[in-house]
Assembly symmetry: D4
Homo-oligomer: 114 residues x 8
């Protein structure tokens, strides 16, 4: 799924950083990265109990896009984990395994800024 | 759900237009509105077979946020209808009945533009 | 699934037009086709957030049959997107991947007209 | 749900017969009625293991519309029982508790005959 | 699944008749068979909208065992169609694809008669 | 649900014993009861992780009927816990909250013995 | 649900601290608390996209118990968010709304230490 | 799944006993083992109607960890059977097929005892 995100960014000539960080396994490094990066938007790809997009959204005021990955239960677990955020911490969820739409949504947000 | 969206926009001092249009019942009027409005972002609230966010996204290049409403099956029908978009037509889906997060996501997108 | 629909029509000697149009990717062309065609009934095959049957039904007074395709979640997303239409915009939904029954339902409707 | 079907038929001036028959509890009477009626189309409302629409469809060549009723599991049981018909025995399924759309679909089929 | 049922009956030395009949495609022949057979118990194997066990149960006072087959949605459609019978028409449902347990349940019922 | 089972048995003049025992909370007492009772058939009513019918079936060769009760998730948890038994330990599952059908199934089994 | 946890701890004479912290809304305070507390075990109660138990488990080596709360979809979203943790970050999940079992599981773990 | 549990225990140098016992097929032997073993914690792996963890938990005061295995329905049946325990009989459920997390949870519990 990450590959698909990057492929669309490459095709469209968008700048990006690609990091492999887990909300559950690299919490400190993730925290630091969120604070230090100049990225204007986050695209987080995660499966199972996919906490990554929500954890990012709770540590930044920038837009966060989440991509649920189908590892178990057809991806229903990741979809619900990403989309059912509590009030005040919004995540923009796209379809299961839909890396392409995550990238295209990011581009819509970035292009609409001009 | 729409009330909650507007309440957050009012609290945060955001400008907005509020229209009641259905993808299924007012297709022509919807089409016209999408073309004519100066809105920089769309927030679409819909239940059941919630086609509205996707239909808007297929008629504009601006960001579209979808809010699934729980009318039947706890809102699972609306959630899947909104989030499972085909490649190339992205919709930013928030949680079931989560009008607040739709508004907050919209504000993140708009504020990140400055 | 489309192949199965056409195969039944061929076997039964029914006239048909076959078009590849997406509610999300070809909205204008779809609109035009719905207005111009002489078809007496529509059979729409779609997966994921399967808006096609509903969008057709909202632009015609003719009967519309929808076939949900299993792309993700075993087709549950497409099934709910097609069948859970709002009041006033009816779609006749058949089983997941059931192109054959869509064609047979169409024939029942057409034959009952004589 | 049946009331809603009849209300639409009354509003639109459509002729109809209203029978209370169960596929499971009145199999013989149901069989007889299917053979004897002059109805041009069937609308069957059923909940739980909703066999009625399918049983009618297997005993007639006329179009059959099924309305799943939400008695348990939000109506998911009735929806799947009605829509997941085996190849060769088509049923036109509408949304859960959607008596109105069943009637409107019936009218579309009947009106398209002229 | 049928093979597994028969294999257990063979192993246990139980007498049985094996018929291939569909509630939807052979309704008349099914009806006749139910009336004429000397079987003391029915084991019905069915997938999708699995009406067979319920239709048999509505035409006999003998015990009926249903086996849901996983054709779509992992067999959830067949499971709900078989198990969610309306009051007064009981079916004994076993697990998805569990032909073995259907046969063993039949044997328990038959042996308990002595 | 238990009340409904007993009501049908009372109406039909069937003898029964009524015990309140949990597979999880009274395992020893349950075990003893299964061995000592003269009952020819068991009807077990249980919710949540409904282990009772399966535990009885693993401790007897008599027929066991399970009734899933809707305590959470509409009863889907109890339904799957009761019906999805491993090979060799059959349980006859009826519909969610369907005490009536459990009793009627028991009567069919008992009456077929004569 | 929290009340039920505390009630069992009170009844059993267990020491505890009670904090209201959200993984999404108080990430820094949560982090600090996890590092500073002398608690030997964590019980985390959360609904929707219930990231709290997993985030705690990723910041401590102590046992973490999660209680999914039914806010939407009967609690299926919280259940899957809590239980479907990635390899290496274990959470002990109990039933939906089952504060009592969370407390009893904690006591089993603590008492087994002696 | 069992292999994965043992592999983690081997890597971490933990002592363990490995038994193959079914709640449904070896109830007496299981009961005896639970009473006689010196194990300080139980890890039970089970699929379908996964009664094993709950039955162990009802026969001991030690902590019990359950691992749902995906045999049917993606493991949803086993997950609900294991996690939805009645009040008073707690089971610590980990993710579907997640033998690794079961072992790691056991180690957290055991290590926290020192």
């Amino acid at each position: 799924m990450v590959d698909k995100v990057l492929q669309v960014f490459d095709e469209e000539g968008a700048d990006y950083e690609h990091k492999v960080l887990s909300a559950h396994r690299n919490p400190d490094e993730l925290q630091r990265y969120i604070q230090e990066t100049n990225a204007r938007i986050f695209v987080a790809v995660a499966g199972l109990s996919a906490a990554l997009p929500g954890v990012i959204a709770s540590n930044t005021e920038k837009p966060v896009i989440g991509v649920p990955v189908s590892a178990k239960l057809g991806g229903l677990d990741a979809l619900l984990s990403i989309v059912q955020m509590p009030p005040g911490v919004p995540v923009a969820c796209v379809g299961i395994d839909s890396g392409e739409n995550a990238a295209r949504l990011a581009l819509r947000i970035l292009l609409s800024k001009r």
